[in-house]
Every structure is written in C-alpha cells, then in structure tokens.
C-alpha cells in the first residue's frame, strides 16, 4: 500500500480530533473532582438559614464561646479582615457568612484534630451587614454575629 498525501492528511486530522477529545475528557474529570467536594448548595444559598440547612443543621444556638473579630467600620468592603476563634469543645468546622452578600456563605474551614479552632481570613462585604461565625461541633451548630459598616462596597464596580 502506498501512502498518498491525501491519506496522510486524513490520518493527521483524525489523530488531532482524538487528542482534543482525550484532552477535554481529562479536563472534565479534573473539574468534576472540584465540584464533587465543593458544597454547591451551601454556596448558592442566599440566606443564613438556607446555608445552615445546606450543612444539614436545623438550629444554631447563639454562643459567647465564639470570638468573632471584625472591624466596626470597614472603609474598603473588598478587603475586610475576619478572625474567628472558638472555645467550644470539639469544633469540627468554622464557616464565615455575610448576611447581605449575594450569596451568604463566604468560606468554610474544616478543622481536623490537632489544628486550633482559629482562623484568620479576608473577605468581601457588599454593603453594611451582619457577619456571622457559624461553628459546627459534635453537639450541633453554634453562631455569633457582629455588624460591619461598609463605606465602599466590595462587590461590583
């Protein structure tokens, strides 16, 4: 059999199609892995109660054992430092929520044994709003809140 130019071209294009499909399949499994773990329900919830429900909770008890440190007035809502420390026994997870953001849940942190129930992070706050620290322990959910006044919003331009 003689390899003509036409045949060679056809073979080449077939190969490249194969490469593309294989590549996109790989990419898809990669992102599926992320969306499998990422709690889409909780992150698309608009209200604080909905977030709690997405985490499988029904009631969050107000607690003074959680220290939530936020500035009273944030000049720039795009960068608001938040520090959360929990003194509750067996703290398993810490969640940061902002009541008036388009999606209430900002971040969640799973605390394995050996790690302190202490988290410092920076979040965006759209407008003056309550910030919540939601803590999951072995004996249920606990919550504490503080208001942050925002003079310049952190979402949109």
């Amino acid at each position: 059999m003689q390899i003509t130019r036409r045949k060679l071209l056809r073979l080449g294009s077939a190969l490249s199609v194969l490469c593309i499909t294989a590549g996109s399949a790989l990419f898809r499994t990669g992102s599926a892995w992320a969306s499998d773990i990422w709690n889409k329900n909780a992150f698309s919830a608009k209200a604080v109660d909905e977030v709690l429900k997405a985490f499988g909770g029904t009631h969050a008890q107000p607690s003074s054992e959680i220290t939530l440190t936020v500035p009273e007035i944030a000049e720039n809502g795009a960068v608001v430092p938040v520090i959360i420390e929990s003194k509750l026994l067996n703290t398993r997870a810490i969640h940061i929520l902002v009541e008036k953001n388009p999606f209430a849940l900002s971040a969640t942190f799973d605390i394995p044994p050996g790690t302190d129930p202490y988290i410092g992070a920076r979040i965006k706050i759209g407008s003056t709003s309550n910030v919540y620290a939601l803590v999951r322990t072995d004996s249920g959910f606990f919550i504490t809140q503080k208001e942050v006044k925002v003079t310049l919003g952190g979402c949109g331009g």
């Binding site: 990419f27 990669g30 992102s31 892995w33 992320a34 969306s35 773990i37 990422w38 709690n39 992150f43 795009a78 960068v79 608001v80 430092p81 520090i83 902002v98 953001n101 388009p102 999606f103 849940l105 900002s106 971040a107 969640t108 942190f109 799973d110 605390i111 394995p112 050996g114 790690t115 302190d116 202490y118 988290i119 410092g120 992070a121 920076r122 979040i123 965006k124 706050i125 952190g154 979402c155 949109g156 331009g157």
Partner: protein
C-alpha cells in the same frame, strides 16, 4: 499562569503558625469591566493544607473571599524543617501547589 504563594510557617512553643498569601484574582462574576461587560467568575473553590502528608486544614471558598486571599491558622504536632504543602483548585479547574519548610 498563576504566581507562587507566599507562605510562612513558624514554630513557636509546640504550635506552628501558618500565614499564607495566595495570588488569585477571585473574580465574583458580578463585576463589570470598563466596557460594561460582566467579568466571568473565577475564584478558588478548594484549599487543602497538608503537613507530612497529613491534612491540617481544608477549606472551601466562595467568590466573596478577597482578591489575593490571606489566611492564618495554627496547628500542633510538627517539627522544624518539616514540609507544609498548600494546594488550591479554582472553578475553572486551574490548580497550584506550593511547599515550604517549617522554621
């Protein structure tokens, strides 16, 4: 391409304090550019932090975490010179991993 993270892990007493600055746009999907078109969402969804192959913190983030996220936390049970690894993955499937020795 993503830029390297700035990670500092210092041992004081029996605890390691970690400070990490991650370079990422953290685009919410609500912002408009100068031409008035929406900038598509692009943000970190998963962050996993390991020390000697053992998980010390895992986080899930939404778009409302600040641009170039900063994170601090403390954990115990590690020695000087051991390696701390931080890996993130964003909503577009990009990922990056950086490692630092505990000092």
């Amino acid at each position: 391409m993503s830029y390297p993270m700035k990670i500092r892990a210092t041992l004081s007493g029996d605890k390691v304090e970690v400070k990490a600055l991650i370079a990422h746009e953290m685009e919410t999907g609500f912002r408009k550019d100068t031409a008035g078109t929406l900038v598509p969402a692009h943000y970190i969804q998963l962050v996993t932090i390991q020390c000697n192959g053992k998980s010390v913190l895992s986080a899930q983030w939404g778009p409302s975490v600040s641009k170039n996220p900063f994170l601090t936390f403390r954990f115990s049970g590690a020695k000087k010179g051991e390696k701390l690894n931080i890996t993130w993955q964003d909503n577009l499937g990009e990922t990056r991993s950086d490692e630092v020795a505990i000092t």
